[in-house]
Amino acid sequence: MTRFSVLLFARYAELLGSERVEIDLPASATAAELIDALRRMPGGALLPSHPFLAMNHSQVRSGQQLDPDAELALLPPMAGG
């Protein structure tokens, strides 16, 4: 298992009660697998099934494999402007 660290913001940070969570997953884990694991955490059930996941500031697609050394962040719908 490999440790993945995920930044959380705004409403998602409130749902999971933290601005950063750590999750152990197989080293080959995809975005979809990380999101599934987040949704099984306490408070995670209210996360949408396809939230915006950023890896090093770029959006990753569901099937994309994650780099455990990259900066991962789960982003609620953008509300700037």
Binding site: F9, E14, A79, G80, G81
Partner: protein, 147 residues
């Protein structure tokens, strides 16, 4: 240049930084905090951001706009508490002619709204608060979180 700022935003320095004597047109946009949203009275709000990504995306938006419209573009977004009537975001574009200046400003504000990781928490007149979700169905008030 920083695209995110906690102090009140000012249009004049933003325009000054991108002006040149060859340019004949300056178009600007300011998004202002309103006293209501989805039918509820708003008494205040605060913006937060995934700051390094937001800075990077703002820079990318400016680069894309300048290439696409043959204009120079300025952009700054407020973070933290913003009072009613204050600007949340400023966009300016300077170009030889007005068409590209208008087009650039409009494109940039649309891009900011859809691409920059910034979130808005509103405080309502009834004491409740909520994160604003622009993707929610129009007219549906976001679930309130007791303030």
């Amino acid at each position: 240049m920083a695209f995110l700022q906690r102090d009140p935003l000012e249009l004049e320095p933003l325009v000054h930084d991108i002006s040149a004597p060859t340019n004949g047109a300056v178009a600007t946009f300011a998004g202002i905090v309103r006293d209501h949203h989805a039918g509820r009275g708003v008494v205040g709000l605060s913006y937060s951001a995934y700051e390094p990504m937001a800075e990077a995306i703002c820079r990318q938006i400016v680069i894309e706009a300048e290439q696409q419209f043959d204009a120079r573009v300025g952009l700054v977004h407020r973070l933290g508490e913003v009072a009613i009537g204050e600007a949340a975001v400023l966009v300016a574009a300077v170009a030889a002619h007005r068409g590209p200046a208008f087009d650039a400003v409009r494109w940039v504000i649309d891009a900011v709204k859809s691409r920059v990781p910034i979130w808005k928490r509103e405080r309502y007149a009834d004491g409740s608060e909520a994160w604003v979700d622009p993707t929610a169905v129009a007219g549906v008030v976001p679930a309130g979180i007791p303030g």
